[in-house]
Amino acid sequence: MDMMPEEKTRVDFNAPVSLVDQADVVADLLDVSRTQLLIEALRDEIEELATDDGFRQMISDAYYSGETDFETVESILGTEEAMRMKLFRASLNRDPPEPQIESELPPPAEFYDGDIPEWTPHDEADDTESRT
């Protein structure tokens, strides 16, 4: 990718010895450093989570409640989805024009030209909409 090298930060963490040993064996076999292996593993994990519905839901909940910012959502879910959520969030408290209804609604017979059609499925298998 044609990007400026990003600033790096040092992370220390404890992990089970056997797991680290395993990682070292794998890194050796692949001829990469332990650090490279870990970075790749983290990237893969985040990428996979981003396609998981439950996780996407957690991210958007966090965004709607203000716990996560736009940049975080954008980096994980992509610009389009983040923009859509930003517009939704901004729209929630929008005030639409007031409806004007004198007292009661006109009765259906007066309002509709004809009787209200009622749709019921022919059988159980039809109980889904074939079109949207």
């Binding site: 639409p96 024009p97 409806p99 609604l105 509709y112 059609p117 749709w119 909409e129 074939s130």
Partner: protein, 186 residues
């Protein structure tokens, strides 16, 4: 009582408002008529292409067709505009005809509200961009919530209706839940 506000709606909104009214299954919410309420409370304008799209949905024996029949039976409450004749350059956003014409009309009329249910897709971004004033953009679930605030629907009805739409139309559950939290809980 003032003048009714001028609003422009997309085809999907008319069909969605009509759907629970004509759906005879037990899962459909009952007790209110969102189509009649919206068409009574607002001065609703549409491009003629919207009625064309409604007509195209008729003629089958499925739920959508029944909803289209009801919209058609209420079409004398809509003010239609022949946008094709007036439009100078079509919007080039990959939106369908009715939607593009609706946006054009909303801009032209300086409508107080443009309602569309394209909120599951990237089209929502395009609609936001194409409107002169993004603040007039609303969706059917949002309108139902607002009308509940005005006492025109019971919260129970709208709660059931939102669940119905999420389940049958695959509406974005989280967006709908946000609306629920904003309007339906005290």
């Amino acid at each position: 009582m003032g003048e009714r506000a001028i609003i422009v709606v997309a085809t999907n909104v008319l069909l969605n408002l009509a759907t629970p009214v004509v759906d005879g299954r037990s899962r459909a919410p009952t007790g209110e008529d969102p189509l009649r309420t919206v068409l009574t409370g607002y001065d609703v304008h549409v491009p003629s292409s919207v009625l064309g799209e409604v007509s195209e949905a008729r003629g089958s024996d499925d739920l959508l067709s029944a909803a289209a029949d009801l919209v058609f039976q209420a079409s004398h409450h809509l003010t239609t505009h022949d946008v094709d004749a007036d439009i100078e350059e079509p919007l080039d956003f990959g939106l369908d005809r009715g939607e593009s014409h609706g946006i054009w009309l909303a801009n032209e009329l300086s409508a107080a509200m443009f309602v569309t249910d394209e909120f599951n897709t990237r089209n929502y971004l395009f609609v936001s961009l194409a409107l002169d004033d993004r603040n007039i953009l609303f969706t059917t679930p949002h309108i139902l919530c607002v009308l509940t605030d005005h006492g025109l629907f019971t919260p129970q009805y709208v709660d059931a209706a939102l669940t119905y739409y999420v389940e049958t139309k695959q509406w974005d559950r989280q967006y709908v839940d946000q609306l629920r939290n904003t309007y339906l809980t005290e």
